[in-house]
């Protein structure tokens, strides 16, 4: 745990202690288990993402932290103190709702001021802080508008301003960008990161979009059916997935099933169902004959029309599909065993005639450290 804290400190530069701790928390709704004996630490100053498909329990986790749900078992701690008995309106955390939940009968300025008025702040201070917050999210000209007179992106920024103006210890974001179109979503992701860095507030975001999680977050928790499968930096989760679930949920991947032939300090050899022998740099715990999976990212494969001379891993096949996406091209290659490999190649030149086309015979090659061997 200490090393994790140090890592967090190294990344964010903030003093690191678990600001939020889920201590073996279980949440049941009737028969369904939404959160299953889950433990998790989130450190002060982090931008933390909860990533998973819908129904994996990530939103429930957020609602447990906001106080809208109470754990069936276990405890939620904030800054070292259990907060399960604290009602939502007394918790020093604020939430940005997925549908924004703006008060339709109040102006933008009054929406943002709502939280401060509940604290009974002096009128002048409220006015000053609301103005500063509206300036931060570039909404000053819209202060007197009602929410239904704003665009989706503007509403999103009102919701953000309203949840930040109280200076919460933790800001909770429930799919904050889901309602925006793609381009606006990308812009807003960077604005969120910028805002988080400037305010040094701990942000916890819930999303089902792996790209969004990778873009904004310092650390990601990948969730599946009420449990956390892996926690790590975006690079760790992408390059060193600990399971087939994580490998295939975060990014695109070729998963090749095989049996371990031998393993040692120099690496392992695997006999795969795809009809190729694989060499990897990883040393494994399993005995020879154990079933393993090799996860190969499409961009880590090389494709050529000639057999490679030196690569340790090599497979021949025929191109069945080419998708030209501009910056990259995606190839689907059918190996002799019938296994389909996805290969992604950057388009480095401007030539319009791509050298490799459909039905062409090709050779794929990759280095021993390109793939990750998974046992689960």
């Amino acid at each position: 745990m200490a090393s994790e804290a140090q890592q967090a400190q190294a990344r964010t530069g903030a003093p690191a202690w678990p600001l939020v701790r889920f201590d073996t928390v279980t949440k049941r709704f009737g028969q369904t288990v939404a959160v299953d004996a889950l433990s998790l630490d989130i450190f002060a100053g982090e931008f933390f993402a909860l990533l998973g498909p819908s129904g994996c329990g990530k939103s429930t986790l957020l609602r447990l932290l906001a106080g809208f749900e109470t754990p069936s078992e276990g405890r939620v701690l904030l800054d070292g103190a259990a907060i399960d008995a604290v009602p939502p309106h007394r918790r020093p955390v604020n939430m940005m709702f997925q549908n924004y939940a703006l008060f339709p009968h109040l102006t933008v300025a009054k929406n943002v001021a709502f939280g401060l008025r509940q604290e009974g702040r002096p009128r002048a201070e409220i006015a000053q802080r609301v103005a500063a917050m509206l300036a931060l999210v570039k909404l000053e000209p819209f202060a007197r508008r009602k929410p239904d007179e704003l665009s989706g992106g503007q509403r999103q920024r009102v919701a953000l301003a309203r949840s930040l103006v109280k200076r919460p210890q933790v800001l909770l974001l429930d799919e904050p960008l889901a309602a925006l179109d793609k381009q606006l979503r990308h812009e807003t992701q960077f604005e969120l990161m910028d805002l988080q860095a400037r305010l040094a507030t701990t942000f916890v975001i819930v999303t089902h979009d792996q790209e969004e999680a990778m873009t904004v977050a310092d650390r990601i928790a990948v969730m599946d059916r009420g449990r956390i499968v892996q926690v790590g930096t975006p690079a760790e989760v992408y390059e060193q997935p600990n399971s087939r679930y994580v490998a295939s949920f975060v990014g695109d991947v070729n998963l090749i099933e095989g049996r371990l032939i031998m393993t040692g300090p120099g690496g392992s050899h695997i006999d795969s169902a795809a009809g190729v022998k694989l060499a990897t740099a990883q040393r494994l715990d399993g005995a020879p004959g154990a079933v393993v999976w090799v996860a190969l990212r499409p961009e880590k494969l090389r494709i050529a029309t000639e057999p490679p001379s030196s690569a340790e891993n090599c497979a021949a096949g025929r191109v069945v599909d080419v998708a030209y996406l501009g910056n990259v091209s995606l190839y689907k290659v059918r190996l002799e065993s019938g296994f389909i490999m996805k290969v992604q190649v950057p388009n480095l030149t401007r030539s319009v005639d791509r050298s490799i086309g459909t039905d062409e015979r090709v050779w794929l090659s990759w280095t021993p450290d390109a793939g990750v061997v998974l046992t689960g």
Partner: protein, 306 residues
């Protein structure tokens, strides 16, 4: 050709707009003008029981005589006769107080219905509307039975030893309020329920999240957002209650009358159609003018916020 088709469609659309106007003219404006005309006539022992009667055979001179014979005397009577003024004031007072009671009673019911589990809401709605399946008149007569000297209410109160002797309920104002609140209850509950039911519950969570305790959330969020329902319910109850006739006639006393009863007496007992008509016209003006002012203000408020 496409243009011609569009033109034809435009003309058809124009005709469609005419339908509600034609309806209003035929069934509201024309009858109202007839009532207005009668209110400017004088009572007479004749058939119909008022003069002048317009006779198209008289030509232009006949029309001139007809118009000359109209007079606003009936309206002068309304102002000078204490009975009418008292009757109007009493109607407005009873309508105002019972609408307030309706609002206070119906709001919690509507709120509970809107917050009940989805699968219960249909059933609860049916329960609220159920009394409509029985005739209104029969239900008011049932109240006569309950409220009379040896009625159900007194029997229960005596049995529970809450009172020592039977209480006089019937022919009192209390009975009028009971009858009106009972009769108009669904008209208040339904618009309130409609407004509360479509309210987004995440707004309440957002308020709590921003530090607002539940009771204050009600004042700051729930109540303002249900305002359209409150306005609809109040109008839907207040307007007909002012002119209510059946409930005060069957449950109320004979000392003072509501305006509906006064109108009925003039029309049926005294056979004074012109006086009854003037009472009706003034009642209409009393009710329509405030509503028009309110709607005008609403529209302007909406425009300002745009």
């Amino acid at each position: 050709m496409a243009q011609a088709a569009r033109k034809r469609a435009g003309r058809a659309g124009g005709l469609l707009v005419l339908v509600p106007y034609a309806w209003l003219v035929l069934f509201f404006l024309v009858p109202f003008l007839i009532v207005l005309k009668i209110s400017l006539s004088a009572s007479a022992i004749a058939q119909p029981p008022y003069t002048p009667v317009f006779d198209p055979a008289g030509g232009l001179a006949g029309l001139k005589d007809f118009l000359g014979a109209l007079s606003p005397d009936n309206y002068a009577d309304l102002v000078t006769d204490r009975l009418y003024v008292a009757s109007y004031l009493r109607s407005l007072a009873i309508a105002a107080l019972s609408t307030l009671m309706l609002l206070l009673l119906a709001y919690p019911v509507a709120y509970g219905m809107a917050r009940a589990p989805r699968r219960w809401q249909g059933l609860l709605l049916v329960v609220v509307i159920l009394p409509f399946w029985t005739s209104f008149l029969i239900r008011v007569y049932a109240w006569v039975n309950i409220l009379q000297h040896d009625g159900l209410l007194n029997q229960v109160l005596l049995a529970l030893r809450i009172v020592d002797a039977p209480v006089t309920w019937l022919a009192t104002d209390t009975a009028i309020y009971i009858g009106i609140v009972y009769s108009y209850f669904p008209f208040m509950v339904l618009p309130l329920y409609a407004a509360l039911e479509k309210m987004d519950e995440s707004l309440l969570e957002a308020a709590a999240d921003l530090g607002c305790p539940r009771w204050r959330t009600f004042w700051l969020i729930t109540l303002p957002l249900s305002r359209p329902g409150i306005v609809a319910g109040v109008l839907l109850c207040f307007i007909p209650i002012v002119g209510e006739f059946v409930v005060p006639d069957l449950l109320g006393g004979s000392s003072t009358q509501m305006i509906g009863q006064t109108l009925w007496t003039q029309f049926f007992a005294n056979r004074d159609w012109p006086a009854a008509s003037s009472v009706a016209v003034v009642l209409l003006v009393l009710l329509v003018v405030p509503i028009v002012i309110y709607q005008h203000r609403q529209a302007r408020e909406l425009e300002v916020s745009r």
